[in-house]
């Protein structure tokens, strides 16, 4: 059993206006890895590279220890995928989709698929176009979860879904993860979902992996130092991950809050960073290109 379900080494991919150069990423098995980053950072590109929807100029991608080009079919047989724009034909209903997709997967269970449809409240006969956006996403999820995949690859699966469904979905995924052979790679803008649920967080920006860290590190070791401008001088530079100046002082994201505490003394506020804070403080203003 591989200790890494997904390994991306030295991948190079470029679009007009966007390049991703020698990207390395490792997704450990049996865990949930959250992928966060601003629009156009390359989250969707990564997912598409793994699924071989787009070609790459250089680099290797191993899934379940197998090269995803040489063993394309076998690798994809064990991946459950959900894209931010579920692109099923519009005049198809859930029952047809199940009958058409089922045979592709060894682990497919029609019974589990029906149970998921019931649980997610998806009408079996209704045409795809007639479903609400939320319902369309739930159908894509039902299909991804119905064939007992070892890796769930999700690009923005909860876009436009409400809090209650997101919580149920996370609980559903948590149940799946009790089997430590399963893993989840989950890209989202709603970072509050990841805060409690993800074991590792990978931040990607402008085509570069900025870091891949356990969520506990971000939550417990990292800190946001808030204070007057002179506070920055007291911090040692390599520890600072990002700075933002506000009308009332500065906010500095540091990778070692306890170290910062010793440096700054008791008077300075050091908060626990939310993932939004991490993302905002490590992003330089508003540099957005078309989302990839």
């Amino acid at each position: 059993m591989e200790d890494n379900v997904l390994e991306i080494r030295g991948v190079h991919k470029s679009y007009p206006g966007f390049t991703m150069r020698d990207v390395d990423l490792v997704v450990p098995t049996g865990h949930v890895t959250g992928l966060i980053g601003p629009n156009g950072a390359g989250k969707t590109t990564l997912v598409k590279l793994v699924m071989n929807l787009i070609t790459r100029e250089a680099g290797e991608i191993d899934v379940f220890g197998l090269d995803n080009l040489l063993h394309e079919a076998e690798v994809k047989a064990r991946i459950g995928f959900v894209y931010d724009e579920p692109n099923f034909p519009h005049d198809v209903n859930a029952r047809d989709l199940g009958r058409a997709i089922g045979p592709f997967y060894r682990g497919w269970s029609g019974e589990r698929y029906r149970r998921l449809l019931g649980e997610f409240g998806i009408p079996v006969r209704k045409r795809f176009k007639a479903l609400s956006k939320g319902m369309q996403m739930k159908l894509a999820l039902a299909i991804a979860l119905a064939h007992d995949a070892d890796l769930l690859l999700m690009d923005e699966p909860t876009a436009g879904l409400d809090l209650e469904f997101r919580r149920d979905l996370l609980e559903h995924l948590a149940a799946i993860l009790e089997d430590e052979r399963k893993s989840v790679l989950f890209s989202t803008h709603v970072t509050s979902d990841l805060e409690r649920f993800a074991d590792f967080i990978t931040l990607i920006r402008d085509g570069e992996i900025v870091f891949s860290l356990p969520t506990s590190d971000l939550r417990d070791a990292w800190g946001v130092v808030k204070g007057a401008a002179d506070v920055l001088a007291r911090l040692d530079a390599p520890d600072v991950r990002g700075v933002r100046t506000g009308p009332h002082g500065v906010e500095a994201l540091v990778a070692n809050a306890s170290l910062a505490r010793t440096k700054c003394g008791p008077g300075v506020v050091i908060d626990r960073p939310s993932l939004d804070d991490v993302l905002v403080l490590m992003t330089r203003g508003d540099s957005y290109v078309e989302s990839h």
């Binding site: 629009n39 436009g160 508003d286 290109v289 989302s291």
Partner: protein, 287 residues
């Protein structure tokens, strides 16, 4: 300065009840966030304010008038961004500006150009070529360029990344700084309300589950997470919601002091996040 928006016991139903007995008030110079799951009535409420539909029961007053009767006058003082931020996407940004400008007597072209620069929106680019975040900003620029007194935004932050969201919310905070303009926006991401929202309204199945200053929730309310013995707390009057958790029960209190007696022993007393409040408030067990 009386309230900009007054909604009294509004009822609206098609084959299913969309809004039932909803009341809220929005004074000038404040931000109100409306949160709720899909189909909880958020968009219905916005359509009522814009006069797209008429209520079946209750009354709604915007700037003191009924949107159904004097909709035109009211809408000339409202800036809106619908959940589809931009229509007529085949037009360029400047052309869209000219089209919308025609409808507003007090359209301020200088302000519109300034907003386009601030939001880094290229004038010649077609709206269809903009990302969702950029389109929301264009919608906002169009809404702000005729110094509207009430801004109505339907799920502006859905699908935006955190940096964009925080920037948009900061912009809303700046808008109300003049003390005259108010903002009403719906959202599914409760962290949007954490910071700048003054009032929070939680809708579930068309009913108001909470409505009031958001600070009450963050400063006064409390959550006790504990074992099965907490089931006994269900009866207490300060309890606003109770929900089964893995280890036992999570109980939501609307007063920190009322919660203290329940957290002796293993139970933990915490300050709630808006996500927790929202989930616990409407949870089935609490009804």
């Amino acid at each position: 300065m009386d309230d900009l928006l007054v909604v009294e016991r509004i009822r609206k139903a098609w084959d299913v009840v969309a809004l039932e007995d909803v009341s809220l008030r929005l004074p000038p110079g404040h931000i109100m966030g409306i949160a709720g799951p899909n189909g909880s009535g958020k968009t219905t409420l916005i359509r009522l304010i814009l006069g797209h539909i008429r209520p079946d029961g209750g009354a709604i007053r915007v700037f003191g008038d009924d949107p159904g009767l004097s909709g035109r006058a009211i809408r000339s003082r409202i800036g809106f961004v619908l959940d589809r931020p931009i229509s007529y996407e085949h037009l360029s940004v400047t052309r869209l500006g000219r089209l919308v400008a025609d409808f507003y007597a007090d359209w301020d072209e200088v302000e519109f150009q300034r907003l386009l620069d601030e939001f880094e929106l290229p004038g010649r680019r077609r709206a269809s070529a903009l990302s969702r975040g950029m389109r929301v900003k264009l919608g906002l620029a169009l809404a702000l360029a005729h110094n509207a007194e009430l801004l109505v935004l339907d799920e502006p932050t859905t699908g935006l990344d955190p940096v964009f969201r925080r920037e948009l919310l900061a912009r809303l905070s700046a808008i109300i700084a003049d003390g005259r303009t108010s903002v009403l926006f719906s959202t599914q991401i409760l962290t949007d309300l954490d910071r700048v929202a003054d009032f929070a309204v939680f809708l579930r199945g068309g009913r108001v589950v909470f409505s009031g200053p958001k600070d009450d929730l963050l400063d006064r309310w409390a959550i006790v997470r504990g074992g099965p013995e907490l089931a006994a707390a269900a009866g207490a009057d300060a309890v606003r919601g109770i929900r089964r958790s893995r280890m036992g029960f999570d109980v939501l209190f609307d007063d920190m002091d009322a919660a203290k007696p329940y957290c002796d022993g293993p139970a933990v007393l915490e300050r709630p996040t808006l996500d927790d409040v929202f989930l616990l408030l409407g949870s089935k067990e609490s009804q």
